[in-house]
Symmetry: C2
Subunit: 340 residues, 2 copies
Amino acid sequence: MVSMKDIARECGVSVAAVSKALSGQPDISEATRDKIRKAAENMGYQPNSAAKVLRTHRSNNIGVLFFDEAGNGLTNEFFALLLDRFKSVADSKGYDITFINRGLSSGSVGKMNYLAHARYRAFDGVLIACMDFHDPEVIELAKSDIPLVTIDYSFEDRMSVVSDNVSGIRDLVLHCAKLGHRKIAYIHDNNESSVTRDRVRSFLETMDSLGLQVPEEYMPVAEYRKTENSRKATEKLLRLKDRPTCILYPDDFSTLGGIAAIKAAGLEIPGDISIVGYDGIRVGRHLTPTLTTLRQPTELIGETAAKKLISLIENPSETKIEKVVVKGRIYEGGSVVKLS
Amino acid sequence: MVSMKDIARECGVSVAAVSKALSGQPDISEATRDKIRKAAENMGYQPNSAAKVLRTHRSNNIGVLFFDEAGNGLTNEFFALLLDRFKSVADSKGYDITFINRGLSSGSVGKMNYLAHARYRAFDGVLIACMDFHDPEVIELAKSDIPLVTIDYSFEDRMSVVSDNVSGIRDLVLHCAKLGHRKIAYIHDNNESSVTRDRVRSFLETMDSLGLQVPEEYMPVAEYRKTENSRKATEKLLRLKDRPTCILYPDDFSTLGGIAAIKAAGLEIPGDISIVGYDGIRVGRHLTPTLTTLRQPTELIGETAAKKLISLIENPSETKIEKVVVKGRIYEGGSVVKLS
DNA sequence: TAACTTTACTTAATCCATTAAGTAGTTGTA
DNA sequence: TACAACTACTTAATGGATTAAGTAAAGTTA
């Protein structure tokens, strides 16, 4: 590997001069700079990040921590889209992305926790997009001095990008109500996250504001993205004497379980029963009828998170810590029928 | 940050002794080792990867290069599953994963290419899972001395894990033929990859071996995972005077476009026409009827790739360079009808 | 012309961990 | 007892880049 030392020798200058020439500092003559740059190119010089990081404590590397409730993060389309966008913004600003995990062992200290991992790799910043924000290790990371942005959860005095779940659920309920539905069920996860809390609260408040009753049986539980559970929850709803006319699901993927249950019961969507998803991932667009859902601005969330994080890294003093709320928009598919 | 120097001072030993104690070398007494380890723990010592990499040229970091034909890699479920599995194996063996890209600029040299990036970050190995293996930069990387594994493509003298597309398509065609289908169409991508070539060849050969004709119109083109194109291709097939009874799609996702076209034409699956996917991703399992497809052993591919790559990194001399062929298995859903 | 600036560098320290080579002190052996 | 062989360390060099501080030479100013 060609190092600055080699270029310095070749050009008859000091290593410091090479460093300055390549990093474009003014403290060097144009002639020398050109000579050095040409030599660097000719000799196939490649900078060495390890040396740079060691010296500057800047890695141009962002750690990404995620895993959803099911342990599968990458296969979660919502997150995959978000990360994809985050990655391309980071990319364009000269940052790499490395996954944070606990696999690395640090000699005697045993496995590293998230914070240790982040320090070990000298991440300039961290993106956290996982559901379990109560994990002590996640909290430890959030309390550190590393610039970070969280998705769909806000720590105090920390940057976050959250989608507006309150308005999201409200819009969906209002949409269904406008089409004449009064018996609306909501299959929901019951985990501890603020996402879930906001949604459930919004559902109850909106229904209440419309003067609509929500019997307890109308709110069965099913974890996010678990089609098996959403199928069961749907079956339960279908067995009720006073069946809902419209079912809200925790996410688009879960509707697949619901659809299976509904078809198995010999019912038609939306003729016999209407369904609504949440997220706006691709699957829903290809169902027949297409799925009415709340389309999350995934790309916007990913992009905003990246920009905010990088701003936090590069201009910590001028960057206002804030909770950026991003609104989704209802997509009116064909899965909700108009009741007369 | 606590460094070895601090521990050395605290324990009244040299930095070398600390290094040896923490890395478990024999050249140190048990008493001293314990003392140093305890001090390290108490003082909250964290190793510094940059220093380690600089000195040892080992990063415990694997670069992953991917982007599918559409530019979206993460949102490709096949790849997401593969990477997820790859990641957890790498993780368990103490390796991190960083995406390779071209965003980083290397001072005067401009944007870095893939190889430059890999060298810059001192990746111990690289996983390549992208469709365009003709990209000069990819070829440059493949010709370098960095340990690497490719997915679904084989470079000469390089490790690769490929799924058996020949047997995959053959099995699907034989399955359909066994159910009585004689007019089988194959909507396929026409890119340059060996995956595509193998599949097309296998389709033609298998059909030929069965004595079945394949009119040119039975092989319309649609890029992988482009539902819009698969919809159009399906429409074309449906308009034919002598319509096929069964359509093979390039992948499961593409069947969504096909299903839309078929439903729009007022036809039933599989009553009026049978369809077959490829990949075995989740969507297909939730369709009604469930999709008959070739289920790829995604996890096995990811796991194998990780194990082979790490073996290549850690035991280069004892690791045989090979092309690991992984066979998928047909999943018999309900989307292919039995013809009498 | 003397004194001061500026320019264009060089010197040397530094970031942190690893490791070959060196050295006391102890134990073993003939 | 004398020399060899260990053991348990220390010394010092090293990896590659950055940067504060120093310096010689050229340019500027009174």
